[in-house]
Amino acid sequence: MVTLTIDGRKVTVRKLSTVLDAARKLDIPIPTLCHHPKLSPSGACRLCIVEITNIARPVTACTILVSEGMKVKTTSPYLERLRKTTLELLLSDHPNDCMICERAGDCTLQELAYFYGIRENRFEGERRLYTKRDENPFIKREPEKCILCGRCVKICNEVQGVSAIDFGYRGFNTKICTPFEKDLDCEFCGQCVAVCPTGALTGTMWVQKGRQQDVRDVDTLCPYCGCGCSLTLHVRRNEVIRVSSSEDTINEGWLCAKGRFGYGFINSPDRLTKPLIRTAPKTSSLIAHYSSLFREASWDEALDYVVRRLKSIKDSYGPDSIAGLSSARCTNEENYLFQKFIRAVIGTHNVDHCARY
């Protein structure tokens, strides 16, 4: 353990901690953009600079390791001036369209601009213009809003292991790009969207569904598989408009494409809300409208029908003529009951589960 002093307060942290970790432990705010606790440090945004006794220049708190007796200052008029210049530079190459940006109110850059009171910008100049947009239903990339913190690249590489994107070009022309700058074609897990501190990466289906006002957060579990990831549904007017997951959950905030983007079924007009019973017999001929082959029924009627048919099949062909296949979207208890039903009631071992395939 190492003891150091930050802004006059003593703190003891583990040996390989960074100064930023130590400051966070004391709940001392240090602005950051490129830092993410789950990703390797980068030291790119230069906002977390601090002054350390015996080091001539300000250093980034996210990269420097603590040492015994270290004396750190996280704020001073000089540091704040440098931070403000850096932010101003960043904003001079950023479209100021917070008015219509999906992330307004939930954007680290916007928040910092607010705290540092940046309205006028001394450094107006050329901006990167990117107008090409990807064709895909999940991830919307707006590179002109990108601050090149690199969190998306790191999560894709270090956590997801996909490396669909990387830094391309250099200097002012640096951008995050796919190989040969084609449209994004990946797993669409959306982890990059989750870690983006600005509006450069958002969900395609989030557009104009609502931002912060009238949005309720509802914590729930993902229904897609047995992992049981925690979800936070963002609900507006009884409609799920976004899904996220917070870092203090069992899944540490990570989600897959289904959990993050697969919520469209909830309000889909195609969603089944009542039992349906097939009305027409199976034929080999072409049928124009499948929907016309079903009719709505009550639960009692539908269940009675299933019981009747299962019984008759078992009577005529024996229990082994029946098999049961259950879904990963069921709970463990439901799956237990289902196999019990197939084995004890129907009397066959023909039972399986989609997660085995």
Partner: protein, 597 residues
């Protein structure tokens, strides 16, 4: 060994070769054969001689007669006079500029007279592709001594005592660096030579690698013993194909001779050395970026600490020194620390190689003791400003350095003194500027370079240098605003304080140092919309000087904008409305009849 009456040491550096060395060699060979002298005279192609301004050059040994500006036509006469009649041929000798008296021998020519050759000890004397020639000049004696008679600690101590500091720019004490790496516990340590000489205007490392590759390799072998390393890399930029070729030949020869590989010289020391070619990125001269590049990644610097001596290449302790530093090592081991520190100043010992270019008469590569005055370099060695114009400033340290004005000409050059006046030693580029150079434009030029070479990782460098450049562009195009100079200063200071690596930390230096010493030039651009040196294109007005114009029409034909009118043999006129200020008329006029102001 065969003996010859005379050895003709022809410079085969890139500069001389592109001036026609090879054709002259062929002509010489032919002529020598025709005269039946092939048993008496031997032609040797050497590395860069240093006096690039006078190329192609050749030195005749043993007399040491220096011939310059050779042409194929003069060869028969030269051979006849010098080798048949025994009269050195005056026409091709260096001539003292004022009295036009020929100076026959190299050591008396002012350009060479004031130099002290340690790093360049073998320049122009050996064939860089022949190991035996290097060995004949005490080559690999230092390595033999270090490997067989000295312990790691002893080597480190000698290097430390010598006071040698890194010649790549920052001037970190070399011995201390080695010591830190040696003390870091690890099974693997690396020795890396930084040959990614990216500063525009610097070519000393290229010259050493081309002219004396073995001196670098020997230095690295000694370092390997000192830090107990088994593997080394030489990182050479791809723009230096000849250096890569010569180094590869040298490495191959060393492997054959048992100077590299397993059990070197029977001492039990193992060391493998490999060339790694850069791919064209200035930022890879920064040590952490260079190591990323060797690892096969984008050359992006990372935050330090950890320093490479603790965690470098593949996270192992690594000593990274530049070419000139390694070339300094063998003589230190052979002659001792005291010999090395006998030259130099209190804090900066030894000699330094500079690439002297720009507006001086004698451009080329020079090696001088540290502590020499700028005046001596520019006037005694460089021969003063060309065309009799007046000196304005000397730019040192390349894009990371600054411009030093006339009042500091007596400055004794070392790491500290240059830093004090707002510049840096850097890798040793020295570009002399005269009254026809605009300081705002010079600052802009360097900014253009650093801005284009910024890796783009950190915000101050990526966007900050871009904004600096935009403001400078504004100033040089006549759109400067009140307060722009102050804005440049503020932004420059903040970039220097917050950037991640050396590139961003030093990028504002050219701007800040020119503002410091030449603020009036900035103000002239902004307030009077004038470029005092008549360089900044947008601020120039071209006109015809009536007394010189003879109506030849060359300018009219060349003008891309049809802005020049005039009948044949009559005085021409430039329509300033139509003029695009390209300067073509100025270039094509043979009668100096175009005026720009």
């Amino acid at each position: 060994m065969e003996r010859f009456r005379a050895n003709l040491l022809m410079c085969a550096g890139t500069s001389c070769v592109s001036c026609g060395t090879m054709n002259i060699r062929d002509a010489l060979k032919e002529e020598i054969k025709n005269r039946g002298l092939e048993k008496e005279i031997k032609i040797v192609l050497t590395g860069c001689n240093g006096y690039c301004a006078q190329g192609p050059v050749m030195v005749v040994q043993p007399e040491g007669i220096f011939y310059q500006s050779l042409t194929v036509e003069e060869i028969p006469k030269l051979v006849e006079e010098h080798f048949l009649k025994g009269r050195p041929y005056q026409k091709l000798m260096f001539k003292e500029p004022e009295k036009k008296i020929a100076i026959p021998t190299m050591n008396e020519i002012p350009f060479f007279k004031h130099q002290v050759l340690r790093v360049l000890r073998n320049r122009g004397l050996i064939d860089p592709e022949a190991l035996e020639e290097y060995i004949a000049r005490d080559g690999y004696q230092a390595a033999a001594k270090a490997l067989s008679q000295m312990t790691s600690g002893e080597i480190v101590k000698v290097v430390k005592d010598s006071g040698l500091r890194g010649r790549g720019g920052a001037g970190f004490p070399t011995g201390l660096k080695w010591e830190l790496a040696l003390r870091t516990k690890s099974d693997m340590r690396y020795v890396v030579c930084n040959g990614d000489e990216g500063d525009p205007g610097a070519f000393m490392d290229r010259s050493v690698m081309e002219a004396d590759p073995h001196s670098v390799i020997e230095g690295m072998i000694i370092c390997a013993k000192a830090i107990e390393s088994r593997k080394g890399y030489i990182y050479v930029r791809s723009e230096y194909p000849l250096a890569v070729k010569r180094l590869q030949i040298a490495i191959d020869h060393c492997y054959e001779a048992g100077l590299l590989g397993k059990n070197i010289l029977g001492t039990g020391v193992n060391f493998d050395l490999k060339i790694y070619q850069g791919a064209g990125a200035f930022v890879c001269g920064e040590e952490t970026a260079l190591m990323r590049s060797i690892e096969g990644k984008r050359g992006i610097p990372r935050a330090r600490p950890p320093f490479p001596v603790h965690q470098g290449l593949w996270d192992q302790p690594t000593v990274l020194n530049n070419v000139e530093t390694f070339a300094n090592i063998p003589p230190i081991i052979l002659n001792g620390a005291d010999w090395f520190s006998s030259l130099g100043t209190d804090m900066s010992k030894g000699t330094k190689v500079f690439a002297l270019t720009g507006r001086v008469k004698n451009t080329g590569l020079i090696e001088v003791p540290l502590g020499i005055s700028l005046k001596k370099i520019i006037y005694d060695i460089g021969g003063g400003i060309e065309s009799g114009r007046s000196f304005k400033a000397v730019q040192t340290g390349g894009p990371s350095g600054g411009c030093i004005p006339e009042k500091f000409l007596d400055l004794e050059v070392d790491y500290e003194s240059l830093a004090q006046v707002g510049s840096i030693m850097g890798s040793g580029g020295m570009v002399v500027l005269d009254e026809t150079d605009c300081m705002v434009n010079t600052a802009k030029f360097f900014l253009e370079f650093t801005q284009a070479e910024s890796c783009g990782k950190c915000i101050p460098c990526r966007i900050g240098t871009k904004r600096l450049l935009e403001i400078l562009n504004r100033v040089t195009s006549g759109n400067g605003k009140e307060g722009d100079v102050e804005l440049l200063e503020e932004l420059g200071q903040d970039i220097k304080a917050t950037s991640l690596c050396g590139l961003g930390l030093t990028a504002p230096n050219p701007v800040l140092s020119t503002i410091r010493y030449f603020r009036n030039e900035y103000e002239a651009h902004i307030k009077d919309k004038k470029c005092p040196a008549a360089v900044c294109k947008e601020l120039l007005i071209y006109s015809v000087l009536e007394e010189f114009c003879n109506g030849c029409g060359a300018c009219k034909r060349a003008c891309p904008a049809d802005a020049i009118t005039g009948k044949r043999k009559k005085i021409h006129k430039i329509d300033s409305e139509l003029c695009v200020k390209c300067g073509t008329c100025f270039d094509v006029c043979k009668f100096n009849a175009i005026k720009k102001q």
